[in-house]
Symmetry: C2
Subunit: 192 residues, 2 copies
DNA sequence: CGCGACGTTGATTTGCCTCAACGATTGTGG
DNA sequence: CCACAATCGTTGAGGCAAATCAACGTCGCG
């Protein structure tokens, strides 16, 4: 719970009373490796804060291939935003890549807190703004760089992820096949 | 100004006093075709609401090629979110594709309004959530479909854009060359 | 131990790009 | 109002980045 508090206070300071209100609605969960906290067809009921471990948000296409949209490790948030806010059935999955501990808050509880603590809605606005900018940069990069360049900048941008994720997952995030990522890695090792 | 009010009230109802506060900070602008309201290196000072006309948000890569990130036509919002909130120099451009009329609000004015009218920050949170979901779907689609499939769904998803945008701009949005889009259009016309 | 996830390699194929050229349309300055 | 330039859409030949398919070795785990 301390982790959540510290993370929030990076953006905004909450009073003790405000903090009590929030903490009251937050539930701690232990999640096993490969366990899914969201499946296609379900409504995404929770916004989840990762205390420890690592998750991926992904979709499955018509051919049955998986495509990673986002990773979330320590101090990051994860949810299917579209499903969460519209209360619509999700087309995505959220799965633990490692054994993890998370804090979850339900949609209606979060909304209730928004009206009691306006600052909280701004905090969540900031969270999503940052994620939006990240996604936007990713779209731009996908359009303007080769897979090799994108892989190198992935390593630079997410060192805390790249040294613990299987290459299969990184390939899926980059939108390439694991085979091709393997070739990229080979080429890079030759160069140095 | 009526356009803005109607658009806002789709999400939230503001009182007359709240509305006065907001309207007071909003400036109307006429923008010519090809005129830029944001250039690389500038800080994005304004969140802009499109009353009439059409804009594109784009970046230029190392090779000098342009890549469209987003379009905004009537009743849509446009800004470089990253630059706007962090007050950092933008790497992007916003350009009018048609002669346009917009309503602009400055960053510090918007922030001041957030604290006076908490509902407003939630409204802007909703706006960005919707844009986030749109971007996320786009990333997924780019990974799982061919350019032809993506073009067909672009036509379906944005009929109000596809019938007024030059194909060059659509190609740039899709991340393909105009030449290849031309071939896709040819193939599609054969089929039907 | 045996199975499934993971990483790698090679041969072949394909989706899309590059470059070059050409009409048609638009728009703009003289 | 015309002439010329710029933008736009299209076509074709050739090339490259990445996918596909198949095979194989390794490792961790039930």
């Amino acid at each position: 719970m301390q982790a959540l508090l510290q993370n929030f206070q990076k953006y905004f300071s909450f009073s003790a009373e405000e903090w009590t209100l929030i903490a009251d609605k937050v539930k701690k969960q232990s999640i096993k490796r490969r366990q899914k906290i969201l499946q296609e067809g379900e409504v995404c009921k929770y916004y989840s804060f990762v205390v420890s471990g690592c998750f991926r948000l992904y979709g499955i296409d018509d051919k049955g291939d998986e495509h990673n949209i986002q990773f979330a490790a320590e101090n990051d948030w994860i949810a299917d935003i579209g499903s969460f806010y519209a209360k619509k059935a999700s087309k995505l999955y959220i799965e633990a890549i490692e054994p993890s501990i998370i804090l979850q808050i339900e949609q209606q509880d979060l909304y209730a807190l928004y009206s009691k603590i306006p600052k909280l809605s701004i905090a969540f606005k900031v969270i999503i703004e940052n994620k939006y900018v990240e996604l936007q940069n990713r779209v731009l990069q996908n359009f303007s760089s080769t897979a090799q360049q994108r892989y190198v900048s992935f390593l630079e941008q997410y060192p805390h992820l790249s040294n613990r994720l299987p290459n299969t997952q990184i390939a899926s995030y980059m939108g390439i096949t694991p085979e091709f990522l393997s070739k990229i890695r080979k080429d890079l090792s030759k160069k140095s």
